[in-house]
């Protein structure tokens, strides 16, 4: 099925998507409609245009491929599925996601992957082709964030306060320079080449955006991980 979104509200679009018997749906002419594909499962959406915020919020297994830039809160509280963005993504991308994967060709805004968490077999992942804004992986409690810094000559590939409040999961930065103002509880390791799970993510990203994995996977990475799953336990005293 192919839908021209021109003139449709987000609500109408979601109803059309829900009612369609086709597994694969192309939507073109999207301009500002929010909440597209909310809580969707079992479908494949190909979207062209400039969708509004909360694209694929609560996503539950569907695949969304966007040809264009995503705005804020993409994949908010995503449970399962895949979001591929041929462009940049805005702030709070992948907020509180606990499953599924988000692949971004370009950059992401502030607070990407904030409060993402692993849960049993689920380990969410975000792969960012370009660079990330500040507060990447804030409160991260699980899952994997990879920032490739594609096309950058050097310097940090994430902004300030990366991993603040992080208490689980991993952040992989393809860079030799640590982001500024890393919090105390985050430990950094320099790693040449990546482990297989990260390699797999990078390969998937490359396949989606027509890149050669070999150009990335052998490079030097900075691995960020928390040194304590209970970062605040000494902060409080019973009264």
């Amino acid at each position: 099925m192919k839908i021209n979104a021109n003139g449709y509200t987000a609500k109408k679009l979601n109803i059309m998507i829900g009612r369609s018997n086709d597994e694969s749906i192309e939507i073109e002419g999207v301009i500002g409609q929010r909440y597209i594909g909310t809580a969707l499962s079992g479908k494949i959406l190909e979207i062209e245009g400039a969708p509004g915020n909360a694209l694929g919020a609560f996503l539950d297994g569907a695949k969304i491929e966007l040809f264009g830039n995503a705005q804020e809160a993409t994949g908010d509280t995503m449970n399962a599925g895949e979001i591929v963005i041929h462009g940049n993504a805005g702030d709070a991308t992948g907020y509180a996601m606990r499953g599924g994967e988000i692949f971004i060709e370009g950059d992401v805004g502030y607070r990407c992957g904030i409060h993402m968490k692993a849960y049993r077999g689920n380990s969410p992942a975000i792969v960012i082709g370009g660079k990330a804004g500040s507060f990447l992986g804030e409160y991260q409690a699980g899952g994997t964030i990879v920032v490739l810094g594609d096309g950058r000559a050097g310097g940090a590939v994430a902004g300030y306060f990366c991993g603040t409040g992080m208490h689980g999961g991993e952040i992989w930065l393809r860079s030799q320079d640590a982001p500024a103002a890393l919090p105390e509880q985050v430990k950094t390791e320099r790693v040449k080449g990546v482990p297989s799970n990260v390699e797999m993510l990078i390969k998937k990203w490359c396949a989606k955006f027509g890149k050669e994995a070999i150009n990335y996977t052998g490079d030097e990475f900075l691995k960020l991980s928390p040194d304590d799953a209970n970062p605040y336990k000494r902060l409080y005293t019973p009264n």
Binding site: T38, A73, A141, N230, K233, N239
Partner: protein, 503 residues
Amino acid sequence: MKVRYILPAFEVLRDESKCVNCRLCERECANGVHSFDSERGRMIANDAKCVDCHRCVCTCPTGALKIAETKDVYRSNANWSRAAIDEIYRQAESGGVLLSSMGNPDTYPEFWNRLLINASQVTNPPIDPLREPMETQVRLGSGRVKIERDENGRLKTALPPQLELQVPVMFSAMSYGSVSYNVHAALARAAKELGIYYNTGEGGLHRDLYGYGDHTIVQVASGRFGVFREYLDAAAAIEIKMGQGAKPGIGGHLPAAKITPAVARTRMIPEGSDAISPAPHHDIYSIEDLRQLVMSVKEATGCRKPVIVKVAAVHNIEAIASGIARSGADVIAIDGFRGGTGAAPTRIRDNVGIPVELALARVDDRLREEGVRDNVSIVVGGSIRSSADMLKAIALGADACYIGTAALISLGCHLCRSCHTGICNWGIATQIPDLVARLDPDEGARRLVNLVTAWKHELEEMMGCMGINSVEALRGNRLMLRGIGMTESELRLLGVKPAGESM
């Protein structure tokens, strides 16, 4: 030499003539206060460990125990209370942020007790609720309608989704993790039997309680614990928690010690790791962002369920509520500064926020001034202690009340305010299996049903005495209230006349 700076606040008094050395108190007290001194052949107590939860007193088969406030005193000082001094000792020792539980216990003024209720005499009749019909049902949700007719002139009767309550009261949000599974099970069973709702709090919904979904409000908080499609689908309504009366403006922090395998499964997080709720929702930094989350929750549930937005009563609550009323939300829940918590920094709990009575009155006024009161229902919580408080809240303008502390007290809580320790001898604020087992969910449900049923009867009595037979006609009916012992500005803010002033 080890000096103890903080001395026990309580003394365990044991009547030796009644004590039979059965050692039940020893088994009942998980704080380890009681022990048997085999040398002397009698029970002894370590006062320093006592939190005054009264479990031992209530279970002692011979009535041999009493807990008293210590007679030991610091030199009296009207400015430096014992608590203020002890808190400094604690911080000097630990360097920690003081952590407390349950609602703000300080001596701030409160207003429920300064509001008096009207009764009918002569000019119109009181109604006898035992014999005349009395309606305590309320509906929560947006009531904004346009009158439209079909081609035959019949009214089109579609309305936004609403919750129907048989009594204008619900059990407020208490997360699984902060309270035990048995508490949730009791709340769920009671809510179903009473035709009301309980609220999961932010800790997800245990698999075994999905069957009570029609009487469940699920919460979406900043940590998004346990939030996924089935969770949203299972519920009757969804509450977006922006704030909590006991700790406005800060998040939550469930220590790993309380995260048992079942709690982790329900929250959908790994075991052994703290569950941290950020202070804000990080997709909401402004009122239009709230609309975004409200609408995306609605989209996720096919717009079939009302969305509640819960906020703490703070200085600017009027404007906040006005924004929420235009966000697409169906219900605003306002939590006053006396509201309870499983753990909050003491300073926040005791100093941040405003009384719910004032917040409610101002919000109701503001929404009416702006003509948007119909967009939303208002639910208030934060220390509704009796049916009289509930009635006064409705007369001030609320549609219904949330009760949390009152519900826990009915389950046995003695307000010892030690929830943050994870040890609760009543099986409420704990995950320790032996303690949890002390609370029988069926017995708990029975007590909750009794409490709310009694409040319903009392509400009917009070409504009847003022000549009202439907809660609708009580809502916002401030002429039925008079203030006593209040300042002019308090009366103005509450929109009530002083006692003694006529209609």
